[in-house]
Amino acid sequence: MRFQSPESVDEAVALLAADPEARVLAGGTDLLVRLRMGDVAPSAVIDIKRITEMTTIAQDDGGWRIGAAVPSAEMNETAALVTDWPGVTEAADLIGSTQIQGRATVAGNLCNASPAADSVPAMVAAGAVARVAGPNGSRDVPVEDIPTGPGQTSLAQGELVTSIFLPAKPENSGSAYLRFIPRTEMDIAVVGVGITLTLDSAGAVTAAKIALGAVGPKVIVAGDAAKTLIGTTGDDPALDALAAACSAAATPIDDKRGTAEFRRDVTGVIAKRTARIALARAKGEA
């Protein structure tokens, strides 16, 4: 295995394009585990942390551009980003331990394509867009279109995600992410729910995006569930309808982390709790 540390995106793309067996190293918190377990044996790892534009968080067009090599801890140290997109930053704050957060990136979390990735439902709900660089230039792809199944992405040979763009936070909107795990920390999500919603001046929901994690082969955009909120104030009946719709949208399996039935039930519970936080944030109460 070779270790390469390019200093520009073009150089990284060239290395990646030239070697189909090479892997991108961002935070490394997934890749190094798989290397150690012998699950992958790449010919090279390409460390992107020496590429300046990939290691910075920048305000961009009213929103935020987060470099693909930025550790999640740094996102939470950027106060204005936390204010705009608390759903995304709190999801980033749940990825593993303090130590993991010192390395893990949300772009890596996305490209690892685990159905249980914490930051992905939060980014999807925020309407995040991944910027993808490749041999033919760069393109912008909605985050939900990057993973295609467990461990699989839509990235073509030679492509890598260089940044995640979070759009300008809409007025009177709130975002939140919650997950369920058996312990208080250190577990992989059994259910994860990201919600972003916008209120009108009367407090009724005018827009909502809901994404479910760990209850399907990839992140689920729960469109029907979002509709249950539109026009409501997020009162108890509305939240019960939301919970039922989220449980219905989930397509979980039985595995060592929980039964399908449990996951379906808890999807609704967590959706309701997440929505309450997002509503409070939209109203400026939290």
């Binding site: 190094l32 150690r36 460390d47 942390k49 550790p71 331990s97 010192g102 920390e185």
Partner: protein, 159 residues
């Protein structure tokens, strides 16, 4: 197998080493540099026994390739005391019996040092969540948490 040449700073000393591409920082610390204070409890970032500070940020040395250390500054447990003068956390862990077998202790000390540098006045809950990635199987964490809280109070008082 061609080796990578790395120049880095470890506990303030410029350090040069050769390593294989797939070797982790932990492999190099332990097997090449005789810095065995960082422990390998899992190799997968789940136990925190290999916690080190890289450019001011707490990480697991088992989840960082040694090649990534080029030009960085690495702090390990071996650099925590200043000669014979123990860091206040080290001293407090001794006084309050915050260790039993001691194998998780280096990682916990490094992690809490980083915590107190960032947050000199943490709540018990903040200490517990900060340390969630540092497994201890002997103590039930009780005396560890007390020692950290007590040290933080002492250090605030001294500052």
């Amino acid at each position: 197998m061609s080796q990578i040449h790395v120049i880095t700073t470890i506990n303030g000393d410029e350090t040069e080493f050769l390593c294989e591409a797939q070797e982790t920082l932990l492999d190099v610390l332990r097997d090449h540099l005789d810095l065995t204070g960082s422990k390998e409890g899992c190799g997968t970032g789940d136990c925190g026994a290999c916690s080190v500070i890289v450019d001011g940020r707490l990480v697991c040395a088992c989840l960082m390739l040694a090649g990534e250390a080029e030009g960085r500054s690495v702090e390990t447990i071996e650099g925590m005391a200043d000669g014979d003068d123990l860091h206040p956390l080290q001293q407090k862990f001794l006084e309050m019996a915050a260790l039993q077998c001691g194998v998780c202790t280096p990682g916990i000390l490094v992690a809490t040092k980083n915590l107190l540098e960032r947050n000199p006045n943490p709540t018990e809950e903040e200490v517990r969540y900060w340390l969630a990635g540092n497994l201890c199987r002997c103590t039930g964490y009780d005396k560890i948490i007390r020692a950290v809280m007590d040290t933080a109070a002492d250090m605030r008082g001294a500052a």
